[in-house]
Subunit: 583 residues, 2 copies
């Protein structure tokens, strides 16, 4: 047996006990006649002591030669420490070692195994197994486990059944690109890895499973942006015989349970906001409502003066930055530079200082008097001491730009508090969105989403106005879940595919099995999927999903630790009936 | 809201309650003036009643036109039934319907949605969503969910952390064939789908995770035998600072917990048997010990007579078939034909009838007298009324043949009771096995398995004799789990790769990251993996894993429901830099 206790376990209650411990050498302090070693494992650190008086010389010598990250096993007696450390559970004791075994030596690690390491991102990815030894990374993974256990137990208690759907499925051109898997037994044919178990969970509803969930890996072969992974994990859920209200209530319950279990917080009923309202008030369909700074639309009060920039704009809109009047002219210029960066793309910014004396000073004083500016302040909710930032232009663009500014300033002002949780349902999404590239409408959620009752007719006359039975759960400015009530009859589904540009043959070839299934008694059904990686990061009060994934890939989709992907043997390619045909 | 209650919920306590129910039409009995409908959902069946007295004519007409598997919603009052059904939880009541809505019509299903269906295997696979509506299939999937929840909660309570390892990894030629995934972003390169998370779980141990588990899909591109799936699920576990004893105790605990939770049985300590002993006593490394019929080796007592078949054989071995003397000559001949089939491959069988009067009658009376046969009976444990079946020949072959016969006869005799559970550890597996095809030794478990202490030296002198720190958990004649204590130092691992025929470059290219990791302080570690599909089937008292998989593939690796795999667009192939090169 390698240990009788872990390194986080022994306290003053165990004094005089003979124990065996194993772990990694965290730190060595060698005073010659005394050597202290901090022994680490997942559970904590226990201090070992070797001293000339009681330790044989031979063992003193071996202890002196221990290096950082050596794996050792010791037997010894729990004794009271001279200088106690009240900040550690094991801080009152140490182990007087009577037996020392080196289980494995260690090269000097390429970065320090400390909470704050000196290792850069690349090095830590290459030696991820060493990075995982660091408390913050390991704690993130344990936190992820706790969240998934809480999810599973909650849903299971509510009669949801976790069903494993297949990973080797069929490629469909809808949505992002599929990863594909050549079949050797069916030469020239390919499986695809699922972008989500969408059709399978719908078939489970047709199959009477009633309540399904699955925590499941999904795959998207997209050009990776920062903090996107080619493989990611979903909490995938579906229910039969439900309306939108049932889904919102059920998963509000789940989210409330997680917030309670993990943070001990119990938010009230989650607010609901239509997509349209979210766009108007926050310029964003996943608004962070932990703070205000809501949009004030100024068209009515700022247009029809002599300021042509505003007059020609589709939308003039501003926000009040709390205590922003403190900013120097230079700081405001930097802000303007910030929103003019290509990533944001604003052409300029008008600002109004709200002075403590109630007067205003704006960058457009030539065109607007104090009375005008007072109305702007009213519309944006600005108080004395604030700064009003105003953007103008194309409505969609300008909302996105002002939303980015709002988030950036809130971050700088410390308004995005990581220990505060503000959930929100965004509902009534449009069914379709216009795609400039293909010059046609695409399904905003996916082609299985049902339109709101009675709106199917609008499809021909005013497609952009059709609202969907679709909803997102937003937490602290992040979409953590999204779903919809599905179409459940063949006719509507066929019409939807037709509208989205599928020929009847394509629709049949790709989704025939689903439309067939709808003919054999499909119940009304709907569901939701949560992005687990992001959910865990946000619940953990952090932003980067990579920090909550054991073995993440880099932005080129590579695992730099194992060096994958990699070339394949010609023999393997031959077996698959494939040849490389590189560009 | 589609329902106030499910169809398994209402009882006599609810009489006079107004309720809304939804579900599928299971059955209709139309007496003209009264129509009864059985309404089904996952939770049960509730009887609906429409009758001329209280139901408007229009609704009677619509009820009369309902078909099997129509999806309907009804509102009505719970009333007492005239003819009660004590076998159903809802058997005392029925619903007098006041409102009927048809939510979805249904074509006549291609097979009956009943516990005993008239649908053949192929049809049920194609319409799997209808098969899942049948109670036995749905209950299997719910059973699987319960088993996985029990596993997760048990392991989590024992400080195991479920960590998700990646699915897009690197192809390695060891073991079975990998499924590969071409990378678009890294053209000409491929990921592989994991055959198991073996190296990642070992890296988690190097990373100090201490106790890891994961219920995870794994992939093997093998020519499929009956009841093998290209994707299958493992309960994958690993622990640091453990010896074999720790692993056996931990997972004996898990198995005991499952048997207790699911079947209320509490077997004693699991017996342990060496591989050698299992082969000698049962001819099999996964013996079913629910019944006896142990092997009796007869070389010493049956050779050196005039029967040359035995004299020239490496092994002469028999089993006693309980009450087998009842078999007619014809039945025994059929048994001989059975073991001569190519799948079994025996050349013949000698048998001895053990008569009730204590005498023996054998097929080799010319060579053996009553005294000889009495010694055979003693060696095989045969009693009066039994039949002794004796095979001879090459030791490995003959053990396999007699083991097959033992299992077949036990099945026919009803000795393999599905409600009886006899777990067993098989230990001390050989490290290596000889491969006739490649004319060299292969790792019996995998190349990361450690030899027993002090046996590494034997590798050169007597490789076949080296025992491994490897163990299997056997339940009712099935291997449900297997694992080993791993190598955890670079030198030994490099030596093992060398011995298994990897060049140093190959070893470095494929497993360099693991050997690098071993240099930075790898703890002693080991683990086990359970085949979940099989485990669930056996715990469910059944044999076929396919019955416990929601969407299984057929023996050609095809999903006949969605029709995958399928050809790929040329455009998709171009993006991947691939061309078909079919044989």
């Amino acid at each position: 047996m390698y240990r009788t206790h872990t390194n986080g376990q022994l306290t003053a209650n165990d004094i005089n006990l003979e124990v065996t411990l194993s772990g990694w050498v965290q730190k060595i302090r060698n005073k010659g006649f005394i050597i202290w070693v901090d022994l680490r494992d997942r559970y904590g650190i226990t201090q070992l002591i070797f001293n000339e008086e009681s330790t044989p010389k031979e063992m003193m010598d071996r202890a002196a030669k221990l290096g950082r990250e050596f794996v050792i096993q010791v037997t010894g007696t729990v004794i009271e420490r001279e200088s106690k450390n009240p900040n550690m559970p094991t801080g009152e004791i140490e182990i007087l070692v009577s037996k020392l075994d080196i289980l494995n030596e260690a090269l000097t690690p390429p970065f320090t195994i400390e909470d704050a390491t000196d290792g850069g991102e690349d090095l830590r990815m290459k030696y991820r197994y060493l990075d995982i030894r660091r408390n913050p990374v390991r704690e993130n993974l344990i936190f992820r486990h706790k969240v998934t256990m809480a999810v599973r137990n909650y849903l299971s208690d509510k009669n949801f059944v976790e069903v494993e759907t297949p990973y080797l499925i069929k490629s469909t051109p809808e949505g992002a690109r599929d990863f594909v898997v050549p079949s050797r037994m069916n030469e020239g044919q390919f499986y695809a890895l699922p972008q989500s178990p969408q059709t399978f969970k719908q078939l489970l509803m047709v199959g009477g499973m009633d309540k399904y969930f699955q925590i499941v890996k999904c795959f998207r072969d997209e050009d990776l942006r920062a903090d996107r992974q080619p493989e990611f994990t979903q909490i995938d859920c579906e229910m039969a015989f439900v309306e939108q209200e049932d889904i919102l209530n059920t998963f509000e319950g789940l989210t409330r349970h997680l917030l309670k279990e993990i943070h001990g917080v119990a938010p009230g009923n989650f607010p609901r906001m239509t997509y349209e309202e979210a766009m108007k008030r926050y310029g964003n369909d996943k608004p962070d409502i932990r703070f205000g700074m809501e949009f004030g639309e100024l068209n009515a009060i700022a247009q029809h003066k002599d300021f042509n920039v505003f007059n020609s704009a589709e939308l003039v809109v501003g926000i009040a930055v709390p205590e922003g009047n403190k900013y120097t002219r230079k700081e405001i210029d930097q802000l303007i530079d910030w929103i003019k960066r290509p990533q944001i793309g604003a052409l300029g910014m008008v600002y109004v200082r709200c002075n403590e004396d109630g007067s205003f000073k704006s960058s457009v004083d030539k065109f607007y008097d104090q009375e005008d500016l007072a109305r702007w302040a009213e519309a944006t909710g600005a108080s004395k001491g604030d700064l009003i930032c105003v953007l103008s232009g194309d409505q969609n663009k300008v909302r996105g730009q002002l939303s980015a500014l709002r988030m950036e300033l809130a971050q700088r002002l410390g308004l995005r508090k990581s220990n505060e949780f503000a959930p929100l349902w965004v509902i009534d999404f449009p069914l379709l969105e216009w795609d400039e590239d293909t010059q046609r409408y695409h399904a905003m959620h996916h082609p299985f989403t049902s339109p709101k009752p009675g709106q199917m007719q609008l499809l021909e006359s005013d497609p952009g106005a059709v609202k969907a039975n679709a909803y997102d759960l937003v937490l602290n400015g992040n979409e953590i879940g999204g779903g919809s009530i599905r179409i459940h009859d063949k006719k509507t589904q066929a019409k939807m595919f037709d509208y989205l540009g599928f020929t009847p043959d394509e629709a049949k070839e790709q989704f025939g099995f689903l439309m067939d299934a709808f003919q054999f008694g499909a119940p009304p059904h709907g569901g939701i999927a949560f992005g687990l990686d992001r959910l865990v990061a946000i619940l953990g009060g952090q932003e980067t999903i990579r920090d909550f994934i054991a073995f993440p890939k880099n932005n080129a989709g590579r695992d730099v630790m194992i060096d994958a992907p990699a070339p394949l043997d010609q023999a393997q390619l031959n077996e698959l009936g494939l040849r490389l045909d590189l560009k």
